[in-house]
Every structure is written in C-alpha cells, then in structure tokens.
C-alpha cells in the first residue's frame, strides 16, 4: 500500500443511505491504506445503461482497479472484458457478477437474509395470518432476491401464513408510505409487513404510524431513522447487512489484488437480525450505520 493507487467504485446507487454506508466503508479503507477511491452510482437501480456509461468513463480514466456492483452482470460483460484486457483488476461487490473476470465478490446473501426476515415475521405473528411485502424494485437483483427469499420461505415453512400483497415503491419513502396505507386499508386483518430495503421499511413504518395500526413491521438495513424506529418499537426489528464492511472489504480486496495476493472467490460480508434487545451489542452496533 505504498503506492497511491486509484480505485474506481461503480455502485448500484448513490443517494441512498445503504450506498452511502458502502461509500463510507470504502473511504475508511482508502484513508487507512492511503489509496484514492472514487464512488459513483446511477439514480435508480433500473438504469443499467447509465451504469455502463459510468463504467466506460471509469475505464477511460485508467484506474488501477475497479470495484463494481453490477445492476445486470451480462450487460457489463464487454466492458469487463475491456478492463481485463487492460489488466485492470475487477472486484465485484454487493451482488455477484455472472462472469469469471472479477477476482472476488464481496456480497450479502440476500435470499438467506430475507428468509431470516420471514422466520422472524412468523415468530412475531404466531405462525399464522396475512402478511405483505413492500419492496423497492421489481427487476433489480436485490429486489428480486429479497422478495423471493421472503415469499418462498413463507411458502415452504409456514403454511398458515399468506403473503397477500407484494408491491414496489421504488425505495421512495413517500410512495412506500402510500402503498402501505393502501395495503393496510385493503386488508384490515393484516398481521405484518416486510419492508425490503431502507426506504421501503421507513415508508412501511411511516404508513403504520399514520394509520395508528399495530402490525408487525420488519425492516431491512439500518440508518438513523430505522434504528430509532426499532428502538421505539414501531419496527419489530430489521435485517442488517454490513454495508460499511462491503465497502471496506472491496477496497481492501482491490489493494490485495494489486499487490499480487490471492483472493477467495467469495468474501461474505454477512447479515444479522437486530431488534431493540440486541442493537446495542457491540458486534451488532458495529454493522449498523446512521
């Protein structure tokens, strides 16, 4: 790490707190190892081609390494080949890149994480009743994995629980709030809702508060607001990934690659359940971001 490496991170998003936490982790590693890191991502997780333009511009910049969280890994293949041809090491992060070009992938198992949310939901509502999902995106990898992970786990393991509605609010809090209220009003006997990312979870909690409902809300990711809601009990709890860890590990792996180290195929950044009872435990508090 004596060299002043230039590492470009192309993520799936930029403005959301999750990605800002990834950025924070990357910046932390950058400071620690004395490298230069840039971080960019499109406005929404549907803009696959915008991400391609960002990747192309990053390649033109001729960085030493690239970290890449693919919105659609197939679409990126030609550019990744171009990077490989230029001997720029690629580290995949957040979700896998369907290709053997990346040297390693720093990721969360979203299907398993959402299945854990399903288990917790079942436990909290007494293994029976109606539940719903408010997710961020119908077509992105994380959106698909988390919805599938939750819905499939319920279908497999909890025959008395019915998922009555899965709707998508684009991760926009206000839209997710309105969706939640509609779901609650359409299903007065609903027991719980799973909000599949930070914006969705906050929207769900918000809708619950506005209607004065007492359903069980399970969230995903953290952030100051979500932490506050878990603390106050509006949210029963949430699944946290380790975004700071993802960012940190991505940069670290990139430096490792540049220094000629061999990297494991997968670097699992892990996930955890947190609720009011455990969120102040040091190991949990460490993976929560504000």
């Amino acid at each position: 790490a004596q060299e002043n490496y230039d590492i470009a991170l192309i993520s799936k998003g930029f403005q959301h707190q999750f990605w800002q936490a990834v950025k924070a982790g990357a910046d932390q590693a950058a400071a620690e190892f004395g490298v230069n890191v840039t971080f960019e991502g499109p406005d929404t997780e549907t803009q696959v081609d915008r991400q391609m333009d960002m990747l192309a511009a990053a390649l033109s910049r001729q960085p030493d390494a690239i970290g890449f969280a693919a919105l659609d890994s197939q679409a990126a293949t030609p550019l990744l080949q171009q990077a490989a041809a230029a001997n720029i090491p690629i580290i995949a992060f957040d979700s896998g890149v369907d290709s053997d070009i990346p040297l390693t992938t720093v990721t969360t198992d979203n299907v398993a994480a959402a299945a854990l949310a399903a288990d917790k939901m079942a436990e909290l509502i007494g293994n029976a009743g109606k539940v719903a999902v408010v997710a961020h995106d119908q077509t992105s990898r994380t959106g698909i994995d988390r919805v599938d992970g939750f819905v499939n786990r319920i279908a497999e393991a909890y025959p008395d629980i019915e998922v009555v509605s899965v709707q998508y609010g684009g991760g926009d809090q206000l839209q997710s709030t309105e969706i939640t209220k509609s779901i609650l009003l359409a299903n007065p006997d609903l027991k719980g809702i799973f909000g599949a990312n930070e914006g969705s979870a906050l929207g769900v909690a918000n809708g619950k508060t506005e209607l004065g409902s007492d359903i069980v809300v399970i969230g995903f990711d953290s952030g100051a607001a979500q932490k506050g809601m878990v603390e106050s009990g509006v949210m029963a709890g949430a699944i946290t990934q380790n975004p700071v860890g993802i960012g940190y590990e991505t940069v670290k792996a990139a430096i490792g690659a540049l220094n000629g180290e061999t990297l494991p195929e997968i670097i699992d950044s892990g996930f955890d359940w947190y609720d009011a009872s455990n969120m102040n435990d040091p190991e949990i508090a460490a993976v929560l971001y504000d």
Binding site: F14, Q15, H16, Q17, Q20, D43, Q138, V164, S165, Q167, Y168, D172, Q173, L174, T177, E178, I179, K181, S182, I183, L185, A186, P188, L202, N206, E210, L211, G223, A224, A225, G228, D290
Partner: protein
C-alpha cells in the same frame, strides 16, 4: 379548431355555470364510484383521509406548477426544490437548533429565492423556461445532497415538526373529523392561489403573459418583474410542499424529489390547464391531483398487480381527459 365551429345551444337550455363546473368532477366521481363498488374498503373514512393525505404534497406542487404553466412557462424544478427547502428547514432546525417558526420561514424563503433565480434567468437572460428550470432542478438536487452531506436530516429535536402535516387541528376540535393538517394546508394554499389568480394584479398578469406576452409588454407593463414574481410565488409554494413532506417523513430526505415534477405537471394538465398558457384553474389542478391519488389508492386497494396498475393508470388518465374534452364540446 372544431370547437369554434361547433354549433352550440340552439335549444335555449342553458346549463348553469355552477352545474357546468360540477361536471368537471365527473372523471373523479366516476373513479370514486367504481372503486367504492369494487371494494368495501375504499369508502372508509380512514381511506379517504389517506387519499387526501397522499394528495397533499403533489397537490401543493401542482398548484405551484399551475401558476407557472398559466404564464406559458413550465417548472421542472418543483420536485427537487421541495427537497431543497426541506433540507434548508433541516439545517435551520436540526443543525442550528433554531426555533420552529424560523425553520418554516427559512424553507419558504429558500423556495422564494430559488424561484427568483429561475424567474430572473428566464425573464432577463431569455433562457427558455424548460432549460432554466431543468438546470435549476439539477442544481437544487445537487445542492440538497451537498448541504445535507448526502444523508437525511431528522427532526427528532423539534417535537412540533411532525404536527405540521400529521397533526390534526380539526380533529382536536371535532374528534369525528381527524383531517390531518397537511390536507388543511393543501386547501389553504389552493384558496390563496385561487385568490391570487382571480383577484389580484399578479394573477391577472399571469393570465395575460400566457395569452400574449408581447401585447402585455407593449402595453407598458413591466413584464420581467411580473414573470419573476410568478416564479418566486411558485417557489414559495414549493417551500410549503417541502415542509409538508419533511413533516410527514419527520426528516429531510435529500435524494427524493426528482420525478415529482411529472406528477405535478400531469395533475395540472389533467385539470384542464393548457400547457400553451393563458388559461387554467386551481380547482382543476386540485381535481387533477385527486384523480391521480384516487387512481393509485384504488388500484392498490384492489390489489391489482403493480405492472397492471401502471397500464390502467395510463389508460384512465387519457380517458379522464378525453371525457372532459367531450363534456366541454357538448356544453
């Protein structure tokens, strides 16, 4: 146009103006009737309140857009300006810890200031409104992220803040009517805007500018000043929207806002205001905004699959406007 050629009222039956106006609601009423029949959950007080609450932010933005559109302009920055104003309120209340009224004032003044800038760029530099407000949209979006440090600002230290939108003054007086303040604010803004448009010089110039700007200029009117005033007024209204959304989310979300301009402009146009300027009403815009939220709410209540919700929404927006055109043609 064909409507000039259409022979009208030979029959002597003249439909009264009030009834005429009532019919403008027809698209909205049809939607409400259909959804009420389709789902028992639709016509619940709570759901009606939820619809009104859902209309409040878009309704206020749409009123701002109405003013600008009547002048023949367009304002693409309403959404990100709303966010910017929310962030400013956050900075004042949370970062500086100043009292609530200052935060409210700050948000509204931020909106006014931004409107002044857009208006000046349009009136003085003659940059087309589309470009000027597109530029402002991006600038404000970036500034919101910069100022907030790309993270939400929470209003936890300002206890009264959530009351702005979520409290219910009416509910406190008449418990059976827990109409949230946000909805009251929407109607207050609508009333004020309708008053300004209908009764004041600013409103008159708004219509005149959209009708024939050059004729207004040649009448010795300070066209630039009035145009800037319209954008500034619209900006202040976006400031109110910023307070509403921040209060509802108990936070200023710096990344939100882009895309909201389309819903706002859609409400305006569904409400019968012409994009070429010179005509339009606040009441129409309110109806347009309500049509959008009733549609969204109703389709969700019916648990229509989301991809189909989009298809149905698109179809109904076209049909609602077509019905309104037919109505005007036959009257």
């Amino acid at each position: 146009m064909t409507d000039t050629a259409a022979p009208a009222q030979k029959s002597g039956i003249r439909i009264s103006g009030a009834f005429h106006r009532l019919l403008a609601f027809s698209g909205l009423i049809a939607l409400v009737v259909v959804f009420s029949l389709a789902s028992p959950n639709f016509m619940q007080t709570q759901n009606i309140l939820a619809i009104l609450q859902a209309t409040s932010v878009n309704g206020v933005l749409a009123i701002a857009a109405t003013l600008v559109i009547i002048t023949g302009g367009i304002d693409l920055s309403v959404g990100t300006l709303m966010t910017f104003c929310a962030v400013i309120a956050g900075v004042i209340l949370t970062y500086f810890g100043l009292p609530l009224p200052l935060g409210v004032l700050g948000a509204i003044l931020a909106g006014t200031a931004s409107g002044l800038v857009s208006g000046t760029v349009i009136a003085k530099l003659k940059v087309p409104p589309f470009i000027a407000t597109l530029g402002m949209m991006l600038i404000l979006k970036g500034l919101s992220l910069v100022i907030s440090g790309t993270r939400p600002i929470y209003f936890n230290d300002t206890p009264g803040f959530t009351q702005i939108s979520q409290g219910s003054i009416i509910g406190a007086l008449v418990p059976a009517l827990p109409i949230p303040n946000g909805v009251l604010i929407l109607f207050a803004v609508a009333l004020i805007a309708a008053f300004v448009l209908g009764k004041t010089a600013l409103g008159r110039y708004t219509f005149a500018l959209g009708s024939n700007e050059e004729a207004v200029r040649l009448s010795g009117v300070n066209v630039d000043r009035w145009k800037i005033a319209v954008y500034a007024t619209a900006g202040s209204i976006c400031g109110v929207a910023g307070l509403l959304i921040a209060s509802r989310l108990n936070s200023a979300q710096p990344a939100l806002g882009q895309g909201y301009e389309l819903d706002a402009i859609a409400a305006v146009v569904i409400g019968g205001t012409s994009l070429s300027g010179g005509r339009g009403t606040v009441l129409g815009t309110l109806i347009g905004a309500l049509i959008i939220s009733v549609l969204a709410n109703g389709l969700r209540i019916l648990s229509v699959a989301q991809e189909w919700q989009t298809v149905v929404t698109g179809t109904i927006i076209i049909l609602a406007v077509y019905a309104d055109i037919l109505r005007r043609r036959t009257l």
